[in-house]
């Protein structure tokens, strides 16, 4: 116990917890849209292009000495580009959306590997493939933490302003069109918010497990929430609670933090699903008993 308290006094560990908190708020809010609008594979596609962006940033900054192009900025550029392409392809009639997602997913990863091959390692030592793909939350710098907090605040503000329109769009797109809403623009904004969220989450759990953190807490919340707002609130609380519990577990067991967090949320998801099944069965039994006794 003493050792955990000692750990918590280390600035990098404090950054880890604060970065996780910022990301969990995003996962609770944006994850709700991802789940209700069935955009899990879209999120997967965008998430994997992040690897291309990280490789691109390492390559350009090592070969052309572009110091401002950090891996996070590279990741943002690629994720945003993927979001724009996916929004445009959603409306294209000659290509299926899941095909487009698959192409973007694979090409994003392949580009990352190629760029990483050509990084000039005499000038820059890039992060390992393992830490990019599976996360290294222990290396969240204070500067990175500030960027994450600002991004989280901007995304929360945008969602607060567009909440009603996003609700109509995700509940019934036809109704959104009839109401005169600019569904194409709203779609684009939603995809961009997902893209930025993916980049932020990749700092915590790595690229491979972005989907888990964005989707699972929101999916658990969906089982119990009566409204989208409630789903966002429950998703955020679950995401925060389970992630922090996962981080403590990682510290105690000396396991990789990102993977431990995802595993903890995964177990919680299975338990929640089982609990929901039992609850629904009991409800339906009570209803049929009531009907029979009438």
């Amino acid at each position: 116990m003493t050792s955990i308290i000692e750990y918590l006094s280390i600035p990098l560990i404090q950054n880890m917890f604060m970065a996780t908190a910022a990301v969990c708020v995003l996962c609770g809010i944006i994850g709700a849209y991802v789940v209700v609008n069935r955009m899990v594979s879209v999120t997967g596609g965008v998430a994997h292009t992040v690897f291309g962006g990280v490789g691109f940033a390492y390559y350009v900054s090592s070969v052309f000495m572009v110091s401002w192009l950090t891996p996070m900025i590279g990741a943002l550029l690629f994720a945003v580009a993927a979001a724009v392409i996916m929004t445009l392809l959603k409306r294209a009639k000659d290509i299926r959306q899941d095909t487009a997602i698959g192409v973007i997913w694979a090409v994003g990863m392949a580009l990352g590997v190629i760029f990483m091959c050509f990084v000039d390692r005499t000038k820059i030592i890039p992060a390992s493939f393992e830490s990019i793909l599976f996360g290294d939350v222990l290396y969240v710098s204070t500067q990175m933490l500030i960027v994450m907090a600002v991004c989280a605040a901007i995304i929360v503000a945008i969602v607060a302003v567009l909440y009603r329109d996003f609700l109509i769009l995700t509940f019934d797109e036809t109704q959104a069109k009839i109401s005169g809403l600019r569904t194409g623009l709203l779609d684009l904004i939603l995809y961009l918010l997902i893209a930025i969220t993916c980049v932020m989450v990749s700092n915590i759990v790595g690229i491979i497990m972005i989907i888990a953190l964005v989707t699972m807490p929101a999916a658990i919340a969906n089982l119990f929430a009566d409204s989208l707002k409630e789903m966002m609130a429950i998703g955020t609380i679950l995401s925060l609670g389970l992630s922090i519990f996962g981080l403590f577990m990682a510290l105690a067991l000396n396991t990789p933090p990102g993977s431990t967090v995802v595993l903890v949320i995964g177990i919680a998801f299975v338990i929640a699903l089982a609990f929901d099944r039992v609850r629904k069965r009991r409800k339906s039994a009570a209803r049929s008993f009531h009907d029979n006794s009438e």
């Binding site: 209700v36 302003v161 009603r164 329109d165 609700l167 109509i168 995700t170 509940f171 019934d172 036809t174 109704q175 069109k177 009839i178 109401s179 005169g180 809403l181 600019r182 969906n222 929430a225 009566d226 409204s227 989208l228 409630e230 789903m231």
Partner: protein, 242 residues
């Protein structure tokens, strides 16, 4: 002079270059209760999509209150089939009704006004969904959800309402409740265009009937004529069987 809610003039429309409707000329008049019948794939839903501006016709012109559907559709209420909804969406019945209040032509709105909330309350009352307004849509029966969708269409105080098979997969009791609501709506001067398979609808307050199967035959009464039976269902009726 009152405006015609919806008018189609020589409209040809379809998908992927293949017309489903050919040269349709039809009006939904002020205060009308028009039933549109016909077989599956005959173009009934396509007709609604054109009126709502969701589908651009290949030929002809559609007007909604004298304007293009893009400009006039916000004055219409639309009720889709309840079966097309994701029942797991976390939304209560009353919140679903409130989504019908949004009208982008009024500009950006962060919150609902008191007037809008009152309008939603009237819609909830008219559709009779008060007893289950606080329930999540996943906990509603098909008939209850259909009434929620009718309330949503009414929430924005439309001048005409377009419905796509509102009684599909409902039991007779629930269907008659839906028709009662539609008669009530129509009695308040709101024009109703009802796309349906249910021929019983003709005795439920319908004023005119149109049969659509690629082309359209429009009647001036709720009577389904032998020509309509032949166009819609391929059934030839003799004069004596009328």
């Amino acid at each position: 002079m009152s405006e015609v809610p919806v008018s189609f003039s020589g409209v040809t429309a379809g998908y992927g270059g293949a017309p489903v409707l050919r040269d349709i000329s039809l009006e939904l008049r002020d205060g009308d209760f028009l039933a549109v019948i016909g077989p599956n794939g005959g173009g009934k839903t396509t007709l609604l999509r054109v009126a709502l501006g969701l589908l651009e016709p290949m030929e002809g012109e559609t007007k909604v209150f004298g304007e293009s559907p893009a400009k006039g559709a916000h004055r219409l209420g639309y009720v889709p089939q309840h079966g097309t909804f994701d029942r797991r969406y976390p939304i209560k019945a009353e919140e679903a009704v409130m989504t019908g209040l949004r009208d982008a032509s009024r500009g950006f709105q962060l919150r609902y006004t008191e007037e809008e909330k009152e309008s939603a309350e009237r819609a909830i009352e008219m559709a009779g969904i008060g007893p289950f307004r606080g329930k999540r849509i996943g906990d509603l029966s098909g008939g209850q959800l259909q009434r929620v969708l009718i309330a949503r269409a009414l929430a924005g105080s439309p001048e005409a309402i377009l419905l796509d098979e509102p009684t599909a997969s409902l039991d007779p009791e629930m269907s008659s409740k839906v028709y009662e609501i539609l008669r009530n709506i129509n009695s308040k001067g709101i024009a109703v265009m009802l796309v349906t398979h249910d021929l019983d609808a003709m005795s439920q307050g319908v004023k005119r009937v149109a049969c659509v199967n690629g082309r359209a035959i429009i009647g001036e009464s709720p009577e389904i004529t032998p020509e309509m039976f032949e166009l819609g269902y391929g059934i030839r009726l003799g004069r004596e069987s009328r």
